[in-house]
């Protein structure tokens, strides 16, 4: 295989997973919501996109609608689920992800069920080589990533971001200041789901074929690892985490051909990944990049004042 295509492929995947990791970072890192059903919204985004593209709609509105549908379903789910304790929330979202997958698998009339569906290529022009379409995909994915990144940065560095951090730290205290924790959590959940939906749409677009078995709970955990490695509540850290985890799994796939071990190197890859997470949780629970204080006018003035004195 052409090494250049391989590298470009990795870049596309880093972009897609960075988007999903950002959405989880918004939910878990900033608001403290343990969403273990990330894959459900990824799936919803992917299938919505695929069905709309098949209906012959231009791909840009398709991505937007996919995000809206995922966000809408996210907010519907969140209303009952967010009242729960955090471990219950995790189990409910995990179960929801599995239910969605089973429904898509069982309803053959909806999206071809187990057989999966082919997504018609949307980015295509006369005389385009494979490499050119790949570069076009990178462009699309990274434009979306940039939009999502700026969006999450703005949200989390605004007064709104300070409220959701306050809810993460102490729900009761935040409620005392008149901030409805349910309202904020539901909004964050909807935003996070919508962003994950964008990631799913781009995934469907790039892969060109989706089936229910692509959306196993494993995907959710991969995204969790990205956020934990990079540093929860730090968007730059999340980007780095997504890149590192993606490179690690790809690197392990390449190493497979060179490494001589008596068993399957894929197992080794997961064993190392598991150990890595345990070590991070034990010795560096803040991830590679620690959370930064919010940039505000008041904080700026305090630091200036500190420098002067």
């Amino acid at each position: 295989m052409d090494p250049l295509i391989y590298i470009l492929d990795i870049i596309v995947f880093i972009g897609i997973f960075a988007i999903v990791a950002l959405s989880l970072n918004l939910e878990y890192g900033f608001t403290g919501l343990g969403n273990f059903g990330k894959v459900a919204f990824f799936l919803i985004g992917a299938y919505t996109y695929a069905l709309l593209i098949e209906a012959g709609i231009h791909f840009i509105p398709c991505i937007i609608i996919a995000a809206l549908v995922a966000g809408l379903i996210g907010s519907l789910i969140s209303l009952p689920a967010l009242r729960l304790r955090e471990d219950y929330l995790a189990i409910v979202t995990l179960a929801f992800g599995e239910i969605i997958r089973i429904v898509v698998k069982a309803e053959h009339g909806l999206a071809y069920g187990v057989w999966g569906m082919t997504v018609p290529p949307a980015i295509f022009w006369q005389g385009a080589s494979f490499r050119m379409t790949l570069v076009a995909h990178i462009g699309l994915v990274f434009v979306c990533l940039l939009v999502c990144f700026i969006f999450v940065q703005l949200v989390t560095n605004s007064p709104y971001g300070r409220v959701i951090r306050a809810i993460r730290e102490d729900e009761v205290a935040a409620a005392t200041f008149g901030k409805s924790r349910l309202k904020y959590k539901a909004q964050v959940f909807a935003m996070g789901s919508a962003i994950a939906g964008i990631g799913g749409a781009l995934f469907a677009q790039y892969i060109g074929f989706i089936e229910p078995y692509m959306f196993m709970p494993m995907l959710t955990f991969t995204v969790w690892i990205m956020v934990l490695v990079g540093g929860p509540a730090n968007n730059w850290g999340t980007l780095v985490g997504a890149t590192l985890v993606q490179l690690f799994s790809r690197g392990a796939k390449i190493m497979k051909d060179y490494l001589v071990v008596p068993f399957d190197p894929t197992d080794l890859q997961y064993i190392l990944l598991g150990l890595l997470i345990i070590f991070i949780l034990l010795y560096r629970p803040g991830g590679i990049f620690k959370e930064r204080p919010v940039k505000t006018k008041a904080l700026e003035r305090v630091s200036q004042w500190k420098e002067r004195s």
């Binding site: 069982a106 064993i271 598991g274």
Partner: protein, 276 residues
């Protein structure tokens, strides 16, 4: 059912959902397989192997991972992630040792007909073992000192500590028993169907459903809930077929029960069993 009882013990005590539970089951099944098939010691000895191996894994994982984490003030989410990570390590270690291809016990189960229903020997054994284990667990929890200590610690750790209970030892014992029971459950699952490293993972969520419907930490609730969910799943399949829906929703039934329980009655059935 055994699996859910085991899970409920650990969940009640440690207050976080242990996703590595699935791997306790898988390890039990594989150790049983190793002893029974590869060493040729027969099926009964595989019980002992499954019990000891999974129990040891439970103790090791608590000592090496969960206790240090809890001492560092990790949140529930951190503990859950750690248990998932531990699950990776164990699952893929099993995969590396025994390969991913599904294995099966070479035991031939005699089956016989009761009326119109064909009953396989394994199911009778399963029911018998579940009853016996349930009885033993009941006696242990109610009659013995360690059983009382386990219930006290899971109810209120501080109070248990001040009453002179060695919480640390109780916690370790609970992890051992919980994991060991999971191993037995895994062994039965494997004997009834087949062996694969994903064996535990496949039934982890239904197990959670049983645990939560029964009320976390409630032994009797878990037993009652196991019957309810088993019954509802099987009746549900018939209803689904009548309604013209796909029987693939069978799995979804347990999940829906799980979600509904959490939404409507997060304490589960515990109240109903309070008298005991």
């Amino acid at each position: 059912m055994i699996s859910a009882v085991a899970l409920t013990l650990i969940y009640g005590l440690s207050r976080f959902p242990n996703f590595a539970h699935a791997e306790f089951m898988a390890l039990g099944a594989y150790m049983g397989y190793f002893v029974a098939e590869q060493l040729g010691l027969g099926f009964p000895s595989s019980f002992v192997a499954a019990f000891l191996a999974s129990g040891a894994l439970g103790v090791i994982s608590y000592k090496a991972v969960f206790q240090p984490l809890a001492n560092r003030g990790a949140t529930i989410i951190h503990l859950m992630i750690a248990s998932i990570a531990l699950g990776f390590v164990v699952r893929h270690s099993i995969g590396a040792i025994w390969n991913w291809a599904p294995l099966s016990f070479s035991l031939a189960w005699s089956s016989f007909d009761v009326g119109m229903v064909r009953v396989s020997g394994i199911w009778l054994w399963l029911i018998l073992a579940a009853l016996v284990l349930g009885g033993i667990m009941h006696l242990v929890l109610v009659r013995t000192k360690i059983g009382k200590a386990i219930r006290a610690t899971s109810g209120n750790p501080e109070l248990a500590l001040s009453s002179g209970i060695n919480i640390n030892r109780v916690t370790l014992t609970t992890w051992f028993i919980g994991a060991a029971l999971a191993g037995i459950a895994g062994l039965f699952r494997a004997a009834g169907t087949r062996l694969s490293p994903l064996l535990g993972w496949d039934i982890l969520l239904p197990t959670f459903a049983v645990t939560i419907l029964g009320g976390i930490g409630s032994f009797y609730g878990a037993i009652g809930a196991a019957f309810i969910i088993g019954l509802v799943e099987n009746v549900g399949v018939v209803i689904l077929a009548r309604l013209g829906l796909s029987t693939e929703y069978r799995m979804a039934i347990a999940f829906v029960i799980l979600i509904l329980t959490l939404l409507i009655r997060p304490q589960g059935l515990t109240r109903l069993f309070r008298g005991t």
